[in-house]
Amino acid sequence: MVVLAGVSVIVFALVHLVPGDPIRLALGTRFDQATYDALRARSGLDQPLVEQFFGWFGRALGGDLGVSFRSGETVTSLIAERLPATLTLAFASILVALLIAVPLGTISALRPRSFVDRVATVLSQIGISVPEFWMAIVLILVFAGTLGWLPSGGYVPLTEDPGAWAQRLLLPAVVTGVVSGSVITRFVRSSVLEALGADHVRTAQAKGLPQRQVFTWHVLRNALLPLVTVTGVQLAYLLSGVVVVEIVFSWPGLGQLALQAVQARDYPVLQGAILLFAVVFLLINLVVDLLYTAIDPRIRR
């Protein structure tokens, strides 16, 4: 809660530190005094700063994040419009990441220094280092351009056309999924390696459990517990980190909204978007904590 309040103060301060008059800047050439005054009054910019903050903060708590300078729509509705796309992409990416990381990391750990392990290590190192927007461009070139199998971008809601939805989701999800997956692969590998060396694994073997049972219940289960935390952290990063990928794939998510807000100097929208991301970040952390408490008996009360 303290963190959330702090975040709000910084978000607010950031925007109000902008030199010049944001509304004048936002209106640009469309400037006319009547609109200017109306917007100014509506944004509360004519009031003292502290009052502005508390007003904004109070309304934000109630879900009112103000009005876009540019379109006149409420920030809340703009965000609500974009949120599903970003959530879809983030969750799809995490799914791709886990589908890559868990098998690859586990196999690497089971055969350390083997050919498979070395290949996996190299691949994950590449995945961590590759600029995602570059990978996105290359994938678009290959799959949308040369092969023509997939559309190069855009978004169709699942409810409208599941096929088109999946087609458009695939490439961006793979791009961000590969990057996150690379990070998680390394984590899974070291985690499984550590679990393999644990004393209780020897106990399990010594009591004559079948190898598969030893592996599933005494190695994998223990190794994957901390994966919850890492996945949560990655998901939090993904939610905000997909900005660049959203741009390349014309994915109408929050990242794109935020960038457009920056370009148009639409500060209420930027403010709202950042605040929302921070809230989501904290929320994910909270969920991870709760989940971890639920699945790890050592922390359970």
Partner: protein, 313 residues
Amino acid sequence: MTGQPVPQTAPSPDATEAGVRSTQRPPRPRWRETLGLLARNPTAAVAATVLLLIVLMAVFDETLAPAGPNEISVEDRLQAPSWEHPFGTDDLGRDILSRVILGAGVSLRVGFLAVAFALVVGALIGLLAGFYGRWVDDVLMRFMDILFAFPAVLLAIAVLAVRGPGAGNTALAIGIVYIPVFARVTRASVLGVREEVYVRASRSVGASDLRLLTRHVLPNAAPPIIVQTSISLAFAVLAEAALSFLGLGTQPPNPSWGLMLAEGRGFIDIAWWLAFFPGMAIFLTVLCFNLLGDGLRDVLDPRQRTLMAGGGR
């Protein structure tokens, strides 16, 4: 075009002094030893060599580049790679190889500046928080939590939105994002050494806090910070490219790798080399910083106190 890149400075233990100063101090990795161990790790050694070449390339860019960054030649536009233009030319007929070489300076300078800023501020905060504990720790680390709760890319974007685009502001924006990472690593590391015998011994003979911090705590807490520095450099270069790609970082006509990628994106169907080579350059640099970081971690920080990679992604 480019300045001298800031060398990666780390508090290197002074060998002669350490011997005289105190026998209570534990042996800590000597620079030369570290380099020796690193040299025996082939991957890290290759990565370090490639990085050195990239840095040299950035320093001597104007001599190395076959053409100026903005030499426009309309009849040569969109040439595929050839002997004359090994990486081809762009839509304005500019030599891509030259722009990639000249772009190294921009990317590295922003990366180094950003990490240096984050390192100095973050390490200072972490040092104070870890060393003094209690309310200092609470206040500082809570503030770091707040900063950490900001989505990295958006925080950088917001900083740039406020301060306007450009190389310096890009470095500042990336630096701010990384402050909490360094603060956390430093704090954890300082907590580890704070209660060590030699620190308590020095404290008991009345050494001042400043002396304790600079002479004892910092040098011994350094290894994880050094590792984090290398890894952060990787992500800083990546972040600079991303921000420039979005049009918020380096501004045209300066040759930044991210910017070149953005410019080349429109021609991806007809001239793949526009986007390919700057992308390769980013990838290679980032990869080398990561590999070097891994190598350093193996040598300096076997207990893996460093935050896992992915701090900024």
